[in-house]
Symmetry: C2
Subunit: 243 residues, 2 copies
Amino acid sequence: MTLALTGGYSAVQFRYPAELSLTVRKIANFCIGNLICAQYRFMDGHYLTVAHWEGDTIMKKINIEANTYVYPNPVTLVGTEVEGRANFMALGWVSRVNAKPPLIGVNRVHYTAKGIQETKTFSINYPTADMVEVVDYCGIVSGKKVDKSDVFEFFYGYLKTAPMITECSLCMECKLIDTVELPTNYFFIGEIVASYTEEKYLTDGKPDIKKMNPLLLTMPDNSYWTVGEFAGKAWSIGKKLKK
Amino acid sequence: MTLALTGGYSAVQFRYPAELSLTVRKIANFCIGNLICAQYRFMDGHYLTVAHWEGDTIMKKINIEANTYVYPNPVTLVGTEVEGRANFMALGWVSRVNAKPPLIGVNRVHYTAKGIQETKTFSINYPTADMVEVVDYCGIVSGKKVDKSDVFEFFYGYLKTAPMITECSLCMECKLIDTVELPTNYFFIGEIVASYTEEKYLTDGKPDIKKMNPLLLTMPDNSYWTVGEFAGKAWSIGKKLKK
């Protein structure tokens, strides 16, 4: 999709296939300070915002589908017991939600939701990148149809109904403290009761992300990635910009 | 921290500095099928779970601080208006929480919380890795003390109170639909009203994570990272394990 702006605001010309250019529709004009902006909608659902300043284009943003939530999120495996049997599913929608006590929110769980509701417990496990095939398998196959209790070696901690995966680099056992009901999903909030790792993943007593080598997931391209290059120290590298 | 197991369960010996070995305390025994497990607590707060099976050690997990939530989370900037002035803060605790409509949860916001509560809107912006210094700056400096409205060029979409950052690769404007109050944090749930990107970040019309080059954050080592190597296709690479 290419857009050319020739001259002023009213002379916008789209280098677009003829059949599409017919369906371009201006839907909004608005101003940001000195900027004059226009929004256009294309037949294919894309939006385009164009901003002019003294006749030049200075911004070109495409309004894409609202459901475009691109994220490199950590790929985790959720462990539950459903009807007394261990089950594991792949999960990318996970986030810390509270500092003290340490609370975590997990989401978009299907068969797993049943186990969380039954036992009020669950585990979050971080696979290493070399587990990518089995992780993906746990995301493809539902525990409703397939017994996944023999996919991994697992262990228990304080909570007796939150199976944790031995070969994962970090395992957290969680106690359900709240459930937020959303239109298509549940959002489960759990307190992290204990976290487990191994000596080989630590540097100076702290988990070392390069040793853990976790997987990331991006959508909508549906790809797994590893963690790349170090890019700076947090709460530090920005200090030089302080006035 | 090195642990040696000589012989059976009762003959566990710790190759540990003498002053620490004195403080090792067994806190629990439990069984997992054929496994006999024991948990030990060390003076420094570490836990260790040891499992034996027919006299051999088959698992060695260290129980570390429960607050160890290691994550490569995407680093985002939250845009709000507080008392009529644009403000931006760095945020790592963010996750999708619902499929349709597309809902997103954001968390651990401070001065920003005020803006979200006032306007019922906010934006989520994905910086590129070369913005690391200014991103970190926005995480260090509170809008309560410093005017951050001149840090970025920004624009608005449909919502007139959710400033979005022009130089970010993906901007999402969100309408607040729910607030979950947690012990130390708010968890804000917003509907993504529209997402904005640029042609240069797309491949075949879809956001391309390598072109967007986002930042990741890990804790407790407090480091920024880029996205690394492709590790497989999701909902695909695991198919070969299907029986």
